[in-house]
């Protein structure tokens, strides 16, 4: 099975993550706040997050099975009382081959199975070129925020949808049905979903 690994985010990962945030396609697909920070501001903020035990902003480094870092995935904010969070990720340009979708599956599994969260919210910006095509995203979205952010020289709407644990099991089987050997037997083939 082709897969990725997630490991805890450490201080030595802060600057490589900052550099990835300078990549234009990444900037067009994540909240501007992430890349509007200067290197020093991000260092300061992420050192604090790490020192705090990542209770509100959980960040992982995405690695290949051989330990090569290829991106980052994070959950923020984590609403512990109502048990939901939002997930975002960024993958290095040369690895934009679906590794992000595999990282997302692993991350959401962790959020449901280990942290016992109940809902994960996904958000995709209009014009996203790093994951599945626009039409599929629009079909999946249950909420649209018009012209939510300014990035890449234009306003972008965002499309949001949520997953409960049960929905995730279904989506996971659908997503991995063709790219892994451990998908649920009899899993639905229609409605490919995933994010990068």
């Amino acid at each position: 099975m082709r897969e990725v690994q997630l490991r805890p985010y450490e201080e030595s990962d802060i600057l490589p993550r900052y550099r990835l945030f300078q990549d234009r396609p990444v900037q067009e697909n994540i909240l501007p706040l992430n890349f509007q920070l200067t290197e020093e501001e991000l260092l300061h903020r992420d050192r604090r997050i790490i020192a705090d035990g990542q209770r509100q902003r959980l960040i992982f480094v995405v690695e290949t099975n051989r330990g090569t870092p290829i991106g980052y995935i994070w959950a923020y904010p984590i609403h512990w009382r109502s048990r939901w969070t939002e997930v975002a990720l960024a993958i290095a340009p040369q690895y934009r081959l679906g590794y992000g979708a595999l990282a997302l599956v692993k991350m959401v599994e962790f959020l449901f199975d280990e942290l016992d969260l109940h809902t994960v919210v996904h958000q995709i910006y209009e014009g996203n070129t790093l994951m599945q095509q626009d039409q599929q995203i629009r079909h999946m979205a249950t909420l649209v925020q018009r012209a939510e952010v300014w990035s890449g020289g234009r306003y972008r709407s965002s499309f949001l949808w949520s997953q409960t644990r049960a929905q995730f099991r279904w989506d996971r089987a659908s997503l991995l049905g063709e790219v892994a050997d451990d998908a649920a037997p009899g899993a639905p083939a229609a409605g490919e979903r995933g994010a990068e």
Binding site: R2, P93, G98, V179, E192, G194
Partner: protein
């Protein structure tokens, strides 16, 4: 396996991936796979790897990158290298 035969098989895999939107014979050898060419996205890229492994009976490297899948010819060359010497990156 000859280069032309390999190229043709790669094109068939690509045509299937894009839902037969483009016939294998309509795909030029130098066609780019992502972006303006065939328009594959990252998830289809992952599917491509899996289908190449199945179709050619090979095992591609865990850390394969976009450069190695940039064009139809690049993919055919990657497959050829893999067939010649096991997993490649």
């Amino acid at each position: 396996m000859q280069h032309q035969e390999r190229l043709q098989l790669v094109k068939e895999v690509l045509s299937e991936l894009v839902g037969r939107r483009v016939a294998p014979d309509e795909i030029p050898d130098d066609c780019t796979l992502f972006g303006a060419g065939l328009g594959l996205d990252s998830y289809l890229g992952l599917k491509l790897i899996v289908r190449l492994e199945e179709r050619f009976g090979i095992l591609l490297d865990e850390e394969i990158t976009l450069d190695e899948l940039s064009t139809v010819t690049a993919v055919a060359n990657l497959v050829a290298r893999c067939q010649a010497g096991g997993a490649v990156s």
